[in-house]
């Protein structure tokens, strides 16, 4: 593939990035709520619209990116990211600021990613996980900052034990992993402070 066939970035990078940033900020502030990304860009396969927009808005030269096998396979995502964001790709997930996960059923162990440090808990990997269904499927009850009481959200997560795994955030805090689930142009954020409500 040559650069001539490369998928497009944002038509208006400044306004689109601001709009996406607002959306992801709202999603992080209201864990479990479904937010819709409005900005449009090209989408190199297998990147979804939401993940492509997040990449264009958040990735840059200073944020190493880790791609899972599905994302890395065709090479198209890597070339597109390089051209439009300038972000370096890393094969070491613990060095990544962001990880793009195309196959949620093969999510690597969370401790292979950066968990942040006591001095700089923000230096952790944010996982962007593409899933097949947000708003339908299994119901999860969530609580934590940004949620009044508790909230429920539905998703069919290919990482069946995602919330079991994210339980480690409770012991790691203030270190930990932040997750953004993406389904087409819809996103849901599960920041490190969000916990699954146990029992009925």
């Amino acid at each position: 593939m040559s650069i001539t066939e490369l998928a497009a970035g944002f038509a208006d990078p400044v306004l689109a990035s601001q709009s996406v940033f607002r959306t992801i900020m709202d999603a992080m502030a209201r864990p479990g709520s479904i937010q819709r990304i409005a900005a449009a860009s090209g989408t190199p396969s297998p990147l979804m619209r939401g993940s492509a927009a997040l990449a264009l808005a958040l990735f840059d030269h200073d944020t190493p990116i880790w791609l899972d096998k599905t994302m890395a396979e065709a090479g198209e995502v890597a070339r597109w990211l390089k051209f439009h964001t300038g972000a370096p790709l890393t094969s070491d997930p613990s060095a990544a600021s962001f990880a793009l996960i195309g196959a949620a059923d093969a999510l690597p162990s969370l401790d292979s990613f950066a968990l942040g440090t006591a001095e700089y808990p923000d230096r952790s990997t944010t996982l962007i996980i593409q899933v097949a269904g947000l708003g339908a499927g299994e119901a999860f009850r969530l609580q934590g900052p940004g949620i009044k009481g508790e909230t429920q959200f539905q998703a069919s997560l290919q990482t069946a034990d995602l919330f079991d795994r994210l339980a480690v955030n409770a012991t790691l805090f203030p270190r930990g992993i932040d997750v953004v689930l993406v389904d087409d142009d819809r996103i849901v954020a599960i920041p490190r402070t969000t916990r699954l409500v146990e029992g009925d």
Binding site: I3, D60, H61, D62, K82, F83, G86
Partner: protein, 365 residues
């Protein structure tokens, strides 16, 4: 502790209006253009680029105009601006050996290949104020001579051929390069971070520290091996193009200090070195930087660390004039609550003192 104090908005707005008017000054006097600042106050522009850590003459000139000639304020403005732009990456290291020389002198060898080239310098001027400049002046055309293509190797390269001076530390091309604008400083810091810190450092601070080493506070016996000023080409490995693209050229001043030699039972004695590099024609800065760079290598070279210029944490933590002015000038901010509590404490202590005083007097009697 700070408290939000309301009510100053109108005063602040009006103060800004007054500032804009004062900056413009007497309307009968023609307004400065950025070209005038860039061309005729070029060394001020160079300093703002160096310490603002951003190579852009036009922006530096704008900052100087906006700051009414307050260079530290201008440096602050440039630093703030650079934070608004994304970074595309890092250039290939510039090759100062291939510099298009505009000035090049050595105080260690009279006859250096390529010669001693004075260039546009204040040296040898009499430092007498020139009344002609008070009016408009039209200086004579510069003299012209046969341009030489003779190579101008660095003086340190010549010394190195005979093994008389230490080699520069090397690293693999893909080795990570420390960046204090991205990672907070930790001590001890490596030479790359120290040089980056010194390159951004306040010229006056470095000048004073460099001077202190000469006066005996961490003496390192310096010779100005070479000072060169000129233009170097910048290349950037562009991911999209797939090759190193030329970005244009920048003006740099480089100073190679040749310092106190050192040897051991196993190694023949050789000169050590200190290095200075700055944007534009910034000779004093580059020289001071080289002196302080060498002083900061004290522990690496097995010398006692006892002078301020040798104390890495002291030098690097206080060299940045934007940080320094921020902390000093923040004292202007309202500290009303802080001060009230101090005042309260002082009053209480005084009351206690006065109550105790008569008894003390009695006891004494």
């Amino acid at each position: 502790m700070y408290v939000a104090v309301k009510g100053g908005e109108r005063a602040i707005d009006n103060a800004h209006r007054l500032l804009a008017d004062t900056r413009r000054g007497d309307r009968a006097v023609p307004e400065l253009t950025l070209d005038q600042i860039s061309e005729q106050l070029a060394l001020g522009v160079d300093r703002v680029m160096s310490e603002g850590s951003l190579y852009d003459r036009e922006l530096a000139a704008l900052a100087i105009k906006q700051a009414r000639g307050d260079l530290i304020e201008a440096i602050f403005l440039v630093r703030a601006f650079r934070a608004t732009l994304p970074r595309f990456g890092a250039s290939e290291p510039v090759d100062t050996g291939a510099m298009a020389i505009q000035r090049r002198i050595s105080s260690t060898f009279k006859d250096i290949p390529g010669g001693q080239i004075l260039g546009p310098t204040f040296d040898y001027t009499h430092r007498l104020l020139d009344p002609q400049l008070a009016g408009s002046c039209d200086p004579a055309e510069p003299a012209s001579a046969e341009a030489s293509d003779a190579p101008t190797p660095r003086v340190t390269d010549i010394l190195r051929q005979d093994g008389l001076i230490e080699d520069s530390p090397v690293a693999a091309d893909d080795a990570p390069v420390g960046d204090l604008t991205r990672e907070p400083l930790n001590f001890p810091a490596d030479r790359d971070l120290r040089l980056q810190n010194l390159a951004r450092a306040d010229e006056g601070f470095l000048l004073a520290l460099g001077y202190s080493t000469q006066r005996g506070y961490g003496r390192n016996h310096p010779f100005a091996g070479e000072i060169r000023f000129g233009e170097v080409d910048v290349y950037f490995e562009a991911e999209d193009a797939g090759f190193a693209v030329p970005l244009g050229s920048i003006a740099l001043t480089e100073c190679q200090m040749v310092n106190q030699f050192k040897g051991s039972a196993t190694e023949a004695p050789r000169f050590t070195r200190g290095y200075g590099l700055a944007f534009g024609q910034s000779e004093r800065k580059a020289m001071s930087m080289a002196l302080v760079d060498r002083a900061l290598r004290a522990s690496e070279l097995g010398e006692d660390v006892k002078a301020p210029a040798q104390d890495e944490e002291f030098v690097m933590s206080h060299s940045d004039n934007v940080q320094a002015t921020g902390f000093v000038e923040h004292l202007k901010l309202p500290h009303y609550v802080d001060f009230q509590s101090e005042l309260g404490l002082l009053r209480k202590l005084r009351a206690d003192f006065e109550q105790a005083a008569p008894q003390m007097q009695e006891a004494a009697e």
